[in-house]
Amino acid sequence: MTLSDSQKDAVTELVNIAFSRTAAALSELTGNRVELTVPEVSAHPIGDLLPALGKFVHGEVATVHQIFGGPVSGDAFLLLDIEGAARLVSLLAEAGAPTTQMGASAREVLGEVGNILLNACLGVFGDLLEVRFTFAVPRLHLDSLGSMLDSLLIGVDEIRHALLIGARFRVKASEVTGCMVLVLGVTSLDMFVAAIEDWAERATHS
């Protein structure tokens, strides 16, 4: 499936709201000004996701994965490649010279950042859909991109689609780019897109 331009614009605007909340939370936590923007939004069948992700991440990736449930269910991910993740942790937590060795403290920081971001986005989407999501505890994985995607297909019967949302962090004049991925079944996705359309309609006429 693909998103129309207006749908993309609507998603971008909604995610920007969530990202603003995330950026505010991170700014307060770190004492540094944090900006978070959406460079790109697209939708893909899950089987076509790998090449699309290549714009944002490469090689080994750090993934914060949160399963959410309710009337709309799916998986939410924040993906950063290892170098980007290490740099982001270094910028946010002033961890000294960044290395690609993600120690326990660095993993915790990344988990918290991912948790804040995914909670904010899912919260905004929950408000949009007027549903209450249930959230599982987010987990951090360090894995190859291919392995991460394979895990999404294991034991799943229905066709799944992914909403790919770029995420550009800006801290102390440095940028780190990753992406957020919402993986939904067809039914959930239809509900989501319909809600987006309604919101966009309301926003246009208000």
Partner: protein, 683 residues
């Protein structure tokens, strides 16, 4: 409660963590042993109390929102790096800073059906991990600082510049307020090489009595000052007191031998402990400074030694040049006398024999002096090659002729193997003949009578390879690398009647190298012969085999009028006698004014004029003769011990037509006399 006691107990059992459960009103419903032990609050005292009553600073520190977040179903992840701790509990590691337990936590919603019934906080003690990570980070920073410092030292930076970098690295890595590097001067005064954190008006030069911290260099171990005021040795150090220093670490910068170069110190305003890692780090930086300073000293000493050696070498070369030049002067009249004796008819066999002996010895001595002069000129870069296309076989033939007398006298068997096709080389024929002649002479000299000598040459791609091999005394392995050194000779006891100065092979090597070639010596050992192989660039085989044609001999000269001017009376008179013998009319003079008078009186056709005359030198005599219409037409021949281009230019500018290098050769002079035809009116 959303979490049954049984499940709470199981969670408690499977991990070493704090478990705190609340209901929707954030009233504590679960409190495990871990929390009880660390807070001192028993479970029965905690359960039933409101969380924020028990820990009011959770609200003041902004943690309330995370619990509220969990109550709406969202997990909160709280990392130690952002939050440091959640509950204020004492550190498990005593005596360390910080003094609170470092924690990370998750606050998860407890769900009952579709509703959130409460919260569960899982609290982990990560204090040890934080210390380990900080320690690792510090070590990484120290290593990076050491690597940077070592690179700076190896780059040969100025010592003060190096110290500036080091004190910065030291202060930043250890996290200190001040750092300094001091150097002790020969007079015992201490000078600051670099400092950071001190006020701009700080003193940079100290007496040891004023700066008691300098006494630390008397110890080999680092000196640690935990509290300045409580340390008698340092509390009178005004510089430290003025800047409010409380704690410090001072290490010695090693100098030469037992001496200290100086000290490296790092200080803080607040009282603190320094770890063993920090001692080692500071000492490592101090050692780098000490090594760099020693290296600078050694470099300076080496430069002085090199200059002294170069000067001694220059003096040696100049001495050799002077010696050779001076030895030539008395040789000239002796050689002339020998030639006169040879030209004089006699039947006395004793006279004949002694004349021949004299001739041989004079020739030998002239060769020695020529070699000595040659090597000194080549060493000083004062020899120019006169290169032309030469055929190798011609050069080999001439070299063989030079060495033939010795080869025949020693009854050696000589085998020559040359390629049928001529090989052309661009070389100075005289010098190339000298190279091969020296090698053949050596082969003849260092082979027992009746030995064998082989000479061969081949083309090897773009080179020609000439080999001179003998069955002689051979070379010891340690001599192979030294045999071309100046004045080096094989020390074996053989018939040393041929003697020598150990110059010949040095000349060979230098001349070969001037021709862009190489020469090497090989031998299977003493008594097993030697081989010398010369490799030179050859011209392509398709080059025309023509060489510079020699001019045809001019016709026999008639009697000429000559004036010989030389302040060496013997030299002048003997040359005059020689030239008279061959039919010329010769007059002599021994200084400039006498020369001009003689010339004016007798109008010579040729004037052989020594340059080095006293009072009025040869140049001046020449110029005056050129200015005199009566004398202008005479052919001036310069006689001098110097034959460089510069010397020839000077004589040419002074009006000389020819430039001959002493000792003169009769044939050379005769050739010039024959070359200039008699002018009308000169008879």
């Amino acid at each position: 409660m959303g979490l049954s006691p049984g499940l709470f107990g199981q969670l408690d059992a499977i991990g070493d963590w704090g478990l705190l459960a609340t209901d929707r009103t954030l009233t504590i419903t679960g409190w495990n042993r871990w929390l009880a032990q660390r807070t001192g609050v028993a479970a029965e005292d905690a359960v039933g109390r409101r969380l924020f009553d028990l820990f009011p600073d959770l609200v003041s520190r902004g943690f309330e929102r995370y619990f509220r977040q969990a109550l709406v179903g969202q997990t909160a992840i709280l990392s130690q790096r952002f939050h440091k701790y959640i509950l204020p509990l004492p550190s498990p590691i005593s005596g360390n800073d910080p003094e609170r337990m470092q924690q990370s936590a998750r606050i998860v919603p407890l769900v009952a059906g579709e509703h959130v019934a409460g919260t569960l906080t899982i609290l982990e003690d990560v204090t040890e991990r934080v210390f380990r990570e900080a320690d690792l980070q510090l070590r990484n920073r120290q290593q990076a600082a050491l690597a940077y410092s070592a690179r700076s030292a190896l780059a040969g930076n100025d010592i003060a510049d190096l110290c500036r970098k080091m004190v910065r690295q030291l202060a930043e890595t250890i996290g200190a307020d001040f750092a300094e590097a001091l150097e002790v001067q020969p007079d015992g005064v201490w000078a600051s090489l670099a400092g950071i954190g001190w006020s701009e008006s700080s003193t940079t030069v100290f007496e040891a009595s004023e700066a008691t911290r300098t006494l630390a260099v008397l110890q080999s171990e680092p000196v640690v000052v935990r509290e300045l005021h409580a340390t008698p040795q340092f509390r009178s150090d005004a510089h430290l007191l003025t800047h409010g220093v409380t704690s410090g670490l001072i290490v010695r910068i090693p100098g030469r031998g037992a001496q200290a170069f100086g000290l490296l110190g790092v200080y803080t305003r607040l009282q603190r402990r320094f770890t063993p890692d920090e001692f080692q780090f500071a000492q490592a930086l101090a050692d780098i400074i000490g090594t760099a300073a020693e290296r600078k000293l050694l470099e300076a000493e080496l430069r002085v030694r090199a200059e002294e050696l170069a000067e001694a070498d220059r003096r040696k070369d100049e001495f050799l040049a002077m010696l050779a030049h001076e030895l030539r002067n008395p040789l000239a009249p002796v050689r002339n006398a020998v030639q006169i004796l040879q030209a004089t008819r006699t039947d006395d066999p004793v006279v004949v024999r002694l004349t021949e002996m004299l001739s041989r010895q004079v020739r030998h001595m002239a060769h020695l002096v020529d070699d000595l002069l040659d090597v000194s000129r080549i060493t000083r870069g004062k020899v120019d090659l006169q290169k032309e296309h030469v055929i190798l076989t011609d050069v080999v033939s001439r070299a063989v002729e030079i060495a033939r007398p010795l080869i025949e006298t020693r009854r050696h068997d000589l085998n020559i193997s040359l390629p049928p096709d001529p090989i052309l080389i661009e070389a100075d024929p005289t010098r190339l003949t000298q190279i091969l002649g020296n090698l053949l002479n050596n082969a003849a000299k260092y082979t027992e009578d009746g030995g064998h000598i082989w000479v061969s040459a081949i083309r090897d791609h773009c080179d020609v390879v000439v080999s001179v091999r003998d069955s002689g005394i051979g070379l010891a392995p340690e001599m192979l690398s030294r045999v071309f050194d100046l004045f080096t000779q094989e020390n074996r006891t053989i018939d040393r009647s041929q003697g020598g100065l150990g110059i010949g092979l040095t000349l060979v090597k230098r001349l070969v190298e001037m021709h862009a070639g190489t020469v090497r010596a090989t031998s299977d050992g003493p008594g097993r012969g030697s081989e010398f192989v010369v490799r030179l660039p050859a011209l392509p085989a398709c080059q025309d085999v023509t060489t510079d044609a020699k001019p045809s001999e001019p016709p026999v000269a008639s009697s000429r009028r000559l004036l010989i001017v030389d302040d060496n009376v013997d030299s002048a008179e003997s040359m005059a006698e020689l030239l008279t013998l061959v039919g010329h009319q010769v007059r002599t003079a021994h200084d400039g004014p006498a020369a001009l008078r003689e010339a004016q009186a007798h109008r010579p056709e040729f004037v052989l004029l020594d340059i080095g005359l006293p009072r009025m030198d040869g140049y001046e005599v020449a110029r005056r003769m050129r200015d005199n219409p009566d004398l202008r037409s005479a052919t001036l021949i310069a006689m001098t011990g110097y034959g460089q281009d510069e010397d020839r230019r000077k004589t040419h500018e002074a009006g000389f037509g020819y430039h001959l290098v002493k000792p003169l050769n009769l044939e050379e002079v005769s050739r010039i006399l024959r070359a200039i035809p008699t002018r009308h009116g000169d008879v």
